[in-house]
């Protein structure tokens, strides 16, 4: 833990040194101290924007996880449904779904709805795929054992398949979280009516680079904090598996 922290400190120091040594104009890249000062000065604006962004991200994650999980259970129950829909679900993986942003805005306006739908569309499919891989990847031995105990389909799903799928499902939640952040932020770039994305676009238009850098760093911190929290939760939930 110590060495990576030193690396990040070194990056910060290098940034600071480079800015002062080469006389980089603050319009292009302000030093870390200037950025920090901006964060303190503009704390109200940044805090409000971050709160709006964060709440949309959390909402998008919740929607993506719940619907993705439900779809995977439905699709997992029937092999005909699986055969019918799964090729399309896989195909969506190569579609750059962020490109939907302008289309969604034309249909749903520049409000929260467009961003939530974008984040949902990006985060839904990985959740379905991961959950499905989890519940279908149960070992044959386990399934046969459950069948030998005359377990019903429902019991097999709840007591055998789902517990075995927990690591894969949590993996899906992590992917969902990562891409939901991207969906909301890109949505804010295009539908600039609130959030950190709006702060970034506005400040870069008015050449307030310190604010742009500050807001970008905040988005990075938000993403990291969400995934860090998930990582901690995962270690609690999947206690039977050793950490990385």
């Amino acid at each position: 833990v110590l060495i990576p922290c030193c690396v990040f400190l070194a990056i910060g120091a290098g940034w600071s040194l480079a800015v002062s040594a080469f006389n980089v104009p603050p319009l292009l890249l302000p030093g870390p101290i200037a950025v920090f000062r901006t964060i303190v000065e503009e704390r109200e604006l940044l805090f409000q924007a971050a709160a709006s962004t964060l709440s949309e991200i959390v909402l998008a994650i919740a929607i993506g996880v719940v619907t993705g999980f439900a779809t995977a259970i439905l699709v997992g129950m029937s092999s005909l449904v699986r055969r019918t829909i799964f090729p399309y679900i896989l195909a969506t993986q190569v579609v750059p779904k962020v490109a939907l942003a302008p289309i969604l805005i034309a249909w749903f306006g520049i409000g929260m709805e467009s961003r939530l739908i974008l984040a949902f569309l990006i985060s839904y499919f990985p959740m379905v795929i991961n959950t499905l891989a989890g519940i279908l990847g149960t070992s044959d031995a386990m399934l046969r054992y459950a069948q030998s105990l005359a377990a019903s389909e429902w019991q097999i799903l709840v007591k055998v398949r789902l517990p075995a799928a927990v690591p894969a499902i949590l993996g899906g939640v992590k992917i969902t979280t990562g891409v939901a952040v991207i969906g909301i932020v890109v949505g804010e770039f295009v539908a600039t009516d609130s959030g950190l994305g709006k702060v970034i676009i506005d400040s870069s238009a008015s050449m307030d680079t310190a604010l742009t850098v500050a807001a970008t760093l905040l988005i990075g911190t938000l993403g990291l904090a969400l995934l860090g929290a998930l990582e901690l939760a995962e270690r609690r939930i999947v206690y039977w598996q050793p950490g990385p």
Partner: protein
């Protein structure tokens, strides 16, 4: 007779439920929109999307080339530099301990948020988009390479030492083939990400490219053309992905 047999086999191999489902969805969309939608431009039926694709094909291709080139360059850069850095990191214990957590953290950070800053630093042209595509696609390559190289077991390592293979042979004949599965898995992730990177940068700021054209078409509420552009982007993503899969089959021929 054999041709008939293969025909029957092919007939059976087709995923009929999926095919029927696809056709049903498209025809349902077509009929519903024709019957209910107030404006075909705002809610276009599939036939209108295909028509826009056909009518504006030249304009589409003019904007598609920059996007295609930038995704390719960004992707190839991320593969070359990602595999290189991943290999270097996995060779030294100190480097691994110092840099691996950093790489994992950077992998998690939403790099799409950098788009406006990159535009500020590198201008609204090719460079900023290629850089964003590279940045997004780079870290999965590094991580997968590290994972692949480090999974080389000691038996293999000892064997390679016992037959006195030199460093270059060890790299090309042992390490890279061993890590190839993991590297190709990384490439499959990165190739889609590089398209996303270019499109995000084009949407945020640009004068050409499919992302720019899409933003323009959508702002004029020409949804038929917007969806046609999206279709081209999706096809391009599919083509790149298929290329990686084909390359993998060629390169990792022993693991059929």
């Amino acid at each position: 007779m054999t041709s008939l047999a293969t025909m029957i086999a092919r007939w059976r191999a087709v995923n009929w439920p999926a095919l029927i489902f696809g056709v049903a969805i498209v025809s349902l969309w077509e009929t519903l929109v024709r019957a209910l939608a107030p404006s075909q431009s705002l809610f276009p039926p599939p036939s209108y999307v295909m028509w826009s694709l056909y009518v504006r094909f030249d304009l589409l291709m003019e904007h598609a080339w920059p996007t295609f080139c930038q995704t390719l360059v960004g992707f190839l850069l991320s593969v070359v530099l990602g595999v290189g850095l991943g290999w270097i990191i996995s060779k030294s214990r100190t480097l691994f301990e110092a840099l691996y957590p950093v790489v994992v953290v950077l992998q998690v950070v939403p790099k799409e948020a950098l788009a406006p800053l990159l535009v500020l630093w590198f201008g609204a042209g090719m460079l900023s988009r290629t850089v964003l595509a590279f940045l997004i696609a780079f870290f999965p390559m590094v991580i997968n390479t590290i994972f692949g190289v480090r999974s080389l077991n000691t038996a293999m390592r000892n064997y390679a030492t016992s037959v006195l293979c030199n460093r270059w042979q060890f790299l090309t004949k042992v390490e890279l083939p061993w890590a190839s599965t993991s590297i190709f898995a990384g490439m499959k992730i990165s190739v889609t990400l590089s398209v996303i990177g270019v499109v995000v940068a084009e949407i945020v700021a640009g004068r050409n490219g499919l992302g720019y054209l899409l933003l323009f078409a959508a702002s004029r509420l020409d949804m038929g053309f917007s969806l046609a552009i999206l279709l081209v982007l999706a096809l391009w993503g599919g083509v790149l992905f298929a290329a990686v899969v084909l390359l993998e089959r060629r390169a990792v021929y022993w693991r059929r």
